[in-house]
Symmetry: D2
Subunit: 273 residues, 4 copies
C-alpha cells in the first residue's frame, strides 16, 4: 500500500523552520555515574532539526525511532551518535537534543556518616551543526540544578539571634573542553552555599548543618559569585552560566542572581589559529 506522504509535499511559503521536532518524550535511560559506572533513571527528552523552506513537514516518528535505537546508555558518545543519526536521517543541517533527568548521589551525613541518596535535576543540551568546520562540531551544555540552604548575611548581621535561611536552588550550566562530572558541579554549588542538603540527618548532623550554615551566611549574589569564581579558574571551562534562587523564608517571592561568563578554555580556543 502506498500512502500519500503529506510531509514530503513541497511548501511554497519560502519560510524555513529553525526547530521542528518532539517535546517531552518520557523514556528510561542509563547515565554514567562517577562512583557506580552507570545509574538507571527516567528522562524527559526533546529532539529537533531545522527544516528547509521547501519541505512541508518533518517525520516526527523518526525521532522516536532514533531514541529507541540508542536507548540504554546516555553518554557524551551516544549523544553525539544520536545527533549524527538525526542529521543523516532527516537530511538536516542541524540537530538538537535535550535530555532532562533526576540524578542520584549517595551522600554521608557530616557527623554520623549516615548514608542516603540525594536527587539532582540534570540536563544535557546538545546541538550538532553540519556547517561548523571544526572537528568538535557538537555543542554540549551540561546543566545541574542543586538544592542547597542559604542563610542571609544581612539578617544575621542585624539580628540579636538567628538569621533567616531557606532552601535555594543553584543551576549551573557549562560548556567545557574536557569532561566535567555532574558530581563536580554539585560539589561546587554545595560548597558555595551556606550548606548542602541531605536526605538523612541524625541529631548530631542537624546541629552541624545548622551551625555550619550560621557560620557561612550567603546572599544569592554570593553563591552565584563563588560558583562563577571557581568556574573562571577551571581550565576545562569554555562558558558558564550560574543562577541562584532563594525561596525566601521571610517573603513569598524569591531572591535571584545570575552570572554568565567565559572560562579559561574559551580564551585558549580564541588564541588558536
Amino acid at each position: 500500500m502506498s500512502m500519500h506522504d503529506t510531509q514530503n509535499e513541497r511548501d511554497n511559503r519560502r519560510i524555513p523552520i529553525n526547530k521542528v521536532g518532539i517535546k517531552h518524550l518520557v523514556y528510561p535511560i542509563m547515565v554514567l555515574d562517577r562512583e557506580n559506572k552507570t545509574q538507571p533513571t527516567v528522562a524527559d527528552i526533546s529532539l529537533y532539526v531545522d527544516l528547509p523552506h521547501h519541505y512541508k513537514g518533518t517525520h516526527m516518528s523518526r525521532f522516536v525511532e532514533v531514541v529507541n535505537e540508542h536507548r540504554g546508555l546516555v553518554s557524551l558518545r551516544s549523544i553525539e551518535a544520536i545527533l549524527g543519526s538525526i542529521v543523516e536521517r532527516f537530511d538536516s543541517l542541524t540537530a538538537h537534543l535535550e535530555i532532562r533527568f533526576p540524578y542520584f548521589v549517595e551522600k554521608s551525613a557530616p557527623v554520623s556518616g549516615a548514608r542516603s541518596l540525594m536527587n539532582y535535576n540534570c540536563a544535557f543540551l546538545a546541538s550538532l551543526d553540519r556547517r561548523a568546520r571544526r572537528r568538535a562540531a557538537m555543542d554540549l551544555i551540561v546543566e545541574v540544578a542543586v538544592p542547597v540552604a542559604t542563610l542571609c548575611p544581612c539578617s544575621k548581621d542585624i539580628s540579636s539571634a538567628g538569621a533567616h535561611n531557606q532552601r535555594s536552588q543553584v543551576i549551573i550550566r557549562t560548556r567545557s573542553a574536557a569532561l566535567v562530572w555532574i558530581e563536580e558541579l554539585i560539589g561546587l554549588a554545595e560548597d558555595s552555599a551556606s550548606s548542602g542538603l541531605y536526605a538523612l540527618l541524625k541529631r548530631a548532623d542537624e546541629k552541624h548543618v545548622t551551625e555550619h550554615a550560621y557560620q557561612h551566611p550567603r546572599f544569592a549574589e554570593d553563591v552565584a559569585r563563588m560558583v562563577a569564581q571557581r568556574l573562571c579558574a577551571d581550565k576545562r571551562v569554555i562558558w558558564f552560566q550560574v543562577e541562584s534562587e532563594n525561596s525566601e523564608s521571610i517573603h513569598n517571592h524569591n531572591a535571584y542572581a545570575m552570572i554568565e561568563g567565559a572560562g579559561p578554555a574559551a580564551q585558549r580556543r580564541r588564541k588558536r589559529p
Copy 2:
C-alpha cells in the same frame, strides 16, 4: 435545523456517574473583601453534577452558561444561586462547585509600617444535595493556603547559634455555621507559625521578623496543633482540617503534619433534635 442530541440518548449500562462536568475554566471574578468590600481576581473553576444511569451524557456547555450568567461577584449567596441554577437546569440531585483564586491582603511591615500586598491561594468548595432535608442544604468548605516561616525548635535547642528555618505552607479548610472571613483564617495560620511573610520588609522589619521567628520556634506539628486548638474553640466551626508543610531548608523533601477535627458548632448541631 434539528441536530441529533447524542447526550440525551438512553444509556443501558445501568451505571450512574458520581460527578460529571468541567474542570479548570479560567475566569475573572470579584470576591468579597473585609477591608475593601470587593476585589477583582482570577479564578480556576470546576463544576459537576451527578448523572443518572439512563442518560448517555451531560451538556457541558450549560455549566459555562451558568458561570457566565453569574459572573461578577462570587459570594456565599451567589455560590448558592449557581448551585441552585445547576441542579435545576441539569435536573440533577447534586451539584458541586470548586473556585480557586489568589486573594490579596494589604499588610503593614511590623516596624516600618511599610505597606504591601500579600497573596494567598484560596478556594470555595461547595456542594448542593437536593435529597438533604435541612434548609441549609449547601455544604461549603472554605480553604486558605497561607505561606509562613517556621523555625525548627530542635535545631535551635541543639545548636550553639542559629536554627534552620524555611518557607512553609499552612492549608486550613473549614465548614462553619457562621461566616469566617478569609482574613481570619490567614491571621490564625500566621499567628501559629514562627512568623508571617511580607512582600515588603525594610531593614528594621527584617531584624524584627528574624528575631521573632527565633523566639517562636515551631515544628510542623506545632503549627497544625496551634491552628487546631483555636478552631476547636471557635463557636462557628463545624469541621476543620489543617495541613502544615515545611519546605525544609536542610532537606530536599518536606515535613508534614495534618489534623482533622470537629468544632463546637458540630456538637451543637448534633445536640439538636
Copy 3:
C-alpha cells in the same frame, strides 16, 4: 554527647495528630514488571504516622532510614514490611505510604508492529492500622494514570466530516482481594477509550489509530462507565474509582467524569461472618 530530644518532650495541648511525616522524598526504586520481572524507575515517596497527643513531635529522619533500608524492590511484600517497620519504630497506631512513579510498558504499533515504550504515572497508596482485627490489616490502593485519545460522539454525529478528539487521562484506583497487574488496568483504560496512545507510530499505524478512534467515539462519561462496568465484573475488585478527563480540543477547559463503586470482592467480604 547527649543532646536534648525536643521531639520527645511532653505536649500538653491534648491534640493528637492524624498524619505526620515526610513528603516528596525522591528516590530510585525497582518495581515488579509483568514482562521483565523488575524495572528501575524514580519514585516520589511520602510517609506518615499518627502522633498521640502527648508527644511534641515525631523523628522525621527515621522515615528516611526505613526507606533507605528497604530501598531496592518495591512490591506488595516490601510495602507491608516498610509499614510494619514504621509502626514499630514510631510506636504508632497507623502508618501511611504513598509511592508515585512513572512505569514503562513496551507496546507494538497496531499495524507495523514497531516497538516503543509508553510511560504511565502509577502510585501505591498503602496504610496499616494496628487496631484493625483482620489479618489483612494493610489497605492498599493501586492507582494508574493512563493517557488515551477520546473522540467526541456528539461532534461526530452532528458534523459532515471529522470529529473533535484529544488527549485524555484516565485515572483508575482499585482496592483488590488478589493481585491486579498495573498492565491490566492500563489495558482496561485503553480499551475503554477511543484509542490508546503510542510513542512510535508509522504512517500505516497512524491511519489505523485515526480510523479506530473515529469508529469508537467516547464521551468522558463513556470511558468512565466502560471502565467501571469491567471493574464491577472483576471478582478480585473490592473498591474502585475511575476518573476520565479530556483536554478538550475545542475548549481551553477540560471535560470530566468520575465513578466510584464497589466490586464483587466487597460483596463477598461483607457476606463472610
Copy 4:
C-alpha cells in the same frame, strides 16, 4: 538606630552580576484592553538589575517598593517608568522587568453568537539599558500564548474518515516599532490554526468548529509558518519568534515547531544612518 548595611559592603571578588533581583512576586494589576479600556488581572512579576563587581549585594526590598508605587495600570508608559525608577534607585546600568498575567477576551461563538470569555497567558518582557544611545532605549517583547486546535493533515490524508486533532499552544513573541495589540496576536494565532478555542459552544457551534478544523488541517509547522508569514509582512514588526506545540492526541509527547525572524521594521531600522 543605625544598622549595618551588609549589602553596601565592598566586594573584592571582581565579579559583576548580570542580573540580580526578585522573582515571582504575585500582584494584582490593571492592563490596557482594546475593547474595555482596562481589565483587572493577577500578575507574576520579576525584576532585575545588573550589579557592579564592587557591591556585595543589592537591596531587594526596593524592587517591591517600586512595584508598589506603580501599582495600578500596567502599560507601555508605566513599564518604562518602572524601569526608569529602578535604574535610578539602584544606580544600575540595566533594569529588566517580566510581567506574566492571564488576559481575557470576550468571544462570540461562530454560529450561535453566544458570548463567553477566553483566557490567554501573556507577558511583557522589558529591559532598559542606560548605555544604549538611541532615544528608544527600552527593549520590549510582548508574549502571547494562544491555545488553539490543530488537525493533522497527514492523518486526514491517509485515513478513510476522521483525523486526529488536539489542543495546541501557539506562543508569539514580538518586538515592534509601533503598538501591536494583544488581541491582534491572538487573532493571528487563531487564524493560523485549524480552529480557535471557545469557553462556550452550543451544538451548532460545535458542528461549525469541527467542520472548520477538518477543512483547515495544520501541522505544527504550518501554524508556525502562517504566523511567521504574516509577521514578516507587518510593517510594525522588528523581530518575532513563534512556537507551536501540539499535545498530540495519538502520542503522549508533543509535536513542536519554532521560527524566529526579523520583520519589516528591522530592515527600516538598519537602513537608517
